[in-house]
């Protein structure tokens, strides 16, 4: 690989495809491309196996029917119902049809799935799953104990090693490069070890940077989940879709936010309030503890608000597993037993785990179609026009298969299904675009200016604040004003506070101006991304005057399909919002029209 220099004296590296992010989505796409002998570079701000896919616990959905009879179309129905009808039905059909193939393929690649007695992949029940369109509970979630994400991420990294994928480990992507015709030509990135900039030029650029759950204070997400890909896209003038929809996972360890898998309830665990009551029976008489996550989280918050919370401060509920027995817990849920003992100081074999909803998943993201192409269009026109050379997949993208509320077990599926789809689509693109387009003059100038602003010492007496303190303030603000339940006055106040916080972020003092492995600089750059995510979520939420999935307003408690069965598009410029229709037409089957959503 030869490095040449751009006019700006920044070294240029050239690949067919640049994949930004080395979680399951990026690695699955890279595998497809490397095996097709396209030169593929994966850039990641952490060593690949440290990406947040590693923390996924419960499993990956596919209607294999290994434990109970199942059909992909039941999975499709559950996903659309779970999304509160905001998912695009063509993409959902594609994902649910592809699920079997992709999970079998993961097994062939080496994922150490748990097994049934007959030797097939073990499957457990998960929330929002049913047979025959809302009937009995399904068991659709393929699991490797409660470490499924770890098993999948390591396997995908391992197979990329075998396939010869090139890795830029510990590089942070700072900005996309676009030419006058709007084609995306790669990205400007920074090597964390040296602080040096590099241009990675590519015919196709795929963003797979994961979610932005760290925009909230209490989160299951890793520190690295700062919405970097959303920042890349928003700064390039492109929109972010459906950002008002953030998932709060019902069972974070109270006070810590650490994830206790939904698989704990799938294996038979249940929630109780201070009276020892299985309160989910009142909120979801049929599915009870395995209702959709938005439903369970709202029920828990309601129990606490109405004074039935547990603990001295009445601020959480309890997850009981003690009736399941040590053998089952050690075999099926060993990881969460370890976490509960360590962080909640309880052994779930004998005592309940204190839990409370915690920020978990970014349903919104970079608008794409089911091929992973980033799609935008002028207002009032077709929004399905692809941005040439730009792709996005996984949690940073919004296909949308999750709509207003994602089902457990569908995120690991999303990343492999659309990772493969994008890998295939990029191969078509590469066949039609055989040569690199010239880099525009000054391709890295905007990035350099942004960095220079950060480097500048704060003006005398201005007292620039640290990225860490400002990040905490952003997280607390978002939790206060844009949490599980939303109110118009509070959201308006939240947006005002965001504006004020923005000024202080512009004046922040990162406190370390060294070149070598400067994590203060990385945190400052991450905070810029996270702040833009916060803006997108806040403005999109305030505008949507209905309740749907994870977005619940006290002043508009009902879903309003007449006005709001549509996707939000947020642009950084003047916080402009636009809307586009939900794709209600599946690929081959009849549409699932919106109806009342009960569990």
């Amino acid at each position: 690989m030869s490095a040449s220099e751009s006019p700006g004296n920044i070294p240029v590296r050239r690949f067919d495809t640049l994949v930004v992010g080395a979680g399951g989505a990026g690695l699955r796409a890279a595998l497809e491309l490397s095996r097709a002998e396209a030169s593929t570079a994966v850039l990641s701000k952490v060593f690949p196996t440290r990406s947040h896919t590693v923390a996924a616990q419960g499993g990956i959905n596919a209607a294999l029917g290994n434990v109970a009879d199942d059909r992909w179309i039941w999975h499709m129905y559950d996903t659309i119902k779970g999304s509160d009808y905001l998912a695009d039905q063509d993409a959902v059909e594609y994902m649910c049809r592809a699920a079997r193939r992709l999970v079998v393929e993961l097994e062939h690649e080496g994922v150490p799935f748990s097994r049934t007695e007959e030797g097939y992949v073990y499957q457990r029940p998960f929330g929002g799953q049913s047979r025959e369109f809302g009937g009995d509970q399904a068991a659709r979630t393929c699991a490797a104990a409660d470490r499924t994400g770890h098993a999948i991420l390591h396997t995908l990294y391992q197979q990329n090693v075998r396939a010869g994928t090139y890795f830029f480990d510990e590089y942070l992507a700072l900005d996309l490069i676009r030419d006058d015709e709007g084609c995306v030509l790669g990205a400007v990135a920074m090597a964390m070890a040296t602080g040096e900039l590099v241009i990675i030029q590519a015919k196709a650029t795929l963003i797979a940077t994961g979610g932005a759950g760290r925009v909230y204070r209490t989160s299951t997400n890793a520190h690295i989940n700062t919405g970097d890909g959303l920042g890349l896209v928003l700064r390039a003038g492109l929109p972010a879709q459906d950002m008002e929809f953030f998932q709060f996972h019902p069972t974070g360890i109270a006070g810590h936010g650490l994830l206790i898998t939904e698989g704990a309830r799938g294996e038979g665990g249940y929630l109780v309030n201070a009276n020892g009551e299985r309160f989910m029976e009142r909120y979801a008489p049929h599915a009870r503890d395995l209702a959709s996550r938005d439903v369970v989280s709202r029920a828990m918050v309601t129990e606490v608000r109405e004074g039935r919370g547990c603990g001295p401060d009445g601020d959480h509920v309890l997850l009981r597993l003690d009736h399941l027995g040590e053998a089952l817990i050690s075999q099926r849920l060993p990881g969460i037993r370890e976490s509960a003992r360590r962080f909640a100081k309880v052994d779930p074999v004998v005592a309940p785990i204190p839990v409370f909803p915690t920020s978990h998943y970014t349903m919104g993201g970079i608008p794409t179609n089911r091929f992973g192409e980033v799609v935008v269009g002028p207002d009032g026109a077709d929004h399905d026009e692809a941005v040439p050379g730009l792709y996005a997949i996984g949690e940073c993208a919004c296909v949308s298969v999750h709509g207003a509320n994602r089902l457990g077990g569908n995120s690991l599926l999303d990343i492999v299904v659309f990772g493969r789809a994008a890998g295939n689509r990029i191969q078509d693109f590469l066949a039609r675009n055989r040569y690199h387009r010239p880099l525009p003059e000054g391709a890295a100038e905007a990035t350099r200016a942004r960095l220079a602003e950060l480097e500048a010492p704060p003006a005398a007496g201005s007292g620039g604040e640290s990225p860490g303190r400002l990040r905490r303030e952003l997280q607390t603000l978002m939790e206060t004003h844009f949490g599980v339940f939303r109110e118009p006055e509070s959201m308006a106040a939240g947006i005002e506070r965001l504006e004020e916080l923005g000024e202080r972020i512009r004046a922040m003092d990162m406190g370390d101006r060294g070149a070598v492995f400067n994590t203060a600089r990385v945190e400052a750059l991450e905070l810029q991304n996270l702040y833009q995510v916060g803006l997108a979520a806040a403005h999109s939420a305030r505008a949507r005057t209905e309740s749907r999935g994870a977005h619940v307003r006290r002043d508009h408690p009902e879903r309003d399909d007449a006005h709001w069965l549509k996707h939000s598009l947020y642009y950084l410029d003047h916080h402009r919002l636009a809307y586009k229709p939900v794709r209600m037409q599946p690929l081959t089957v009849d549409a699932f029209p919106p109806k009342e959503r009960v569990y």
């Binding site: 062939h108 080496g110 748990s114 090693v161 520190h223 860490g468 406190g511 492995f517």
Partner: protein, 230 residues
């Protein structure tokens, strides 16, 4: 609480040194303390971290003389001053951040991927629960490098002994009923240094934050090699 932390910034320091800090722990784990120090006391303090729950393997460091993950080390159990150093024997990039390039190369050298030369069936390959149980204690490795950098044999022969982490991964595939490359894997490891430098000191098993036992896995590889010779 009181801490003594290894500091080294190659742009400013000729030599590394230990710096004393004092801070009321902002949370129960050592990582909470490091985050607090960085946010409130010294923004230049440098360490890696991500998941903060012991699954990503980013924040391996030497804590009071013992390798471990800061995010799952409760501060209340630590003797003060808590002395923090980078993982031993690795080139230091800055403060608690070490260069793990060689560690990763050794991992990649053991062909850490499933190999199966039989045609792929239309469904998953079958594996009994008992066969799958053979992978428990092997597949959970998070590549934090706590084990290899705690191993005296690895300190002495870091370029020739593969170290416990890479060998644990080698055995994870040797022991997978679905893998058909056992012979080649054993051929590759049958080497006085790569494998046989393990002297069963067992520091690796002692420090592994996931409770895995690389020494036992290495013993199984040795056994498989002996069995093959007889």
């Amino acid at each position: 609480m009181r801490l003594r932390i290894y500091r080294y910034d190659p742009e400013h320091d000729r030599e590394p040194y230990l710096q004393d800090f004092e801070l009321a722990p902002p949370g129960p784990m050592l990582l909470d303390v490091l985050e607090g120090l960085k946010e409130e006391v010294d923004p230049t303090l440098t360490f890696r971290r991500s998941c903060r729950e012991g699954v990503c393997g980013s924040d391996g460091m030497n804590i009071n003389g013992r390798n471990g993950l800061a995010c799952i080390t409760p501060v209340e159990e630590l003797r003060e001053p808590v002395t923090l150093r980078p993982l031993p024997g690795q080139p230091v990039v800055k403060d608690l951040v070490v260069d793990l390039t060689r560690f990763y190369e050794q991992y990649r050298s053991v062909q850490p991927y499933l190999q199966n030369d039989e045609p792929r069936p239309e469904h998953e390959r079958l594996q009994s629960p008992a066969e799958r149980a053979e992978l428990d204690g092997l597949y959970e490795c998070i590549l934090c490098a706590c084990c290899s950098t705690a191993c005296p044999s690895y300190w002495w022969n870091p370029d020739r002994f593969l170290g416990p982490a890479a060998l644990l991964q080698a055995y994870r595939f040797i022991n997978d009923s679905r893998d058909t490359a056992e012979g080649e894997r054993l051929d590759q490891l049958d080497d006085a240094f790569k494998l046989f430098r393990c002297r069963t000191i067992m520091n690796c098993a002692e420090v592994c934050p996931k409770g895995l036992n690389p020494t036992a896995a290495i013993g199984e590889i040795k056994k498989a090699l002996f069995k093959r010779q007889t």
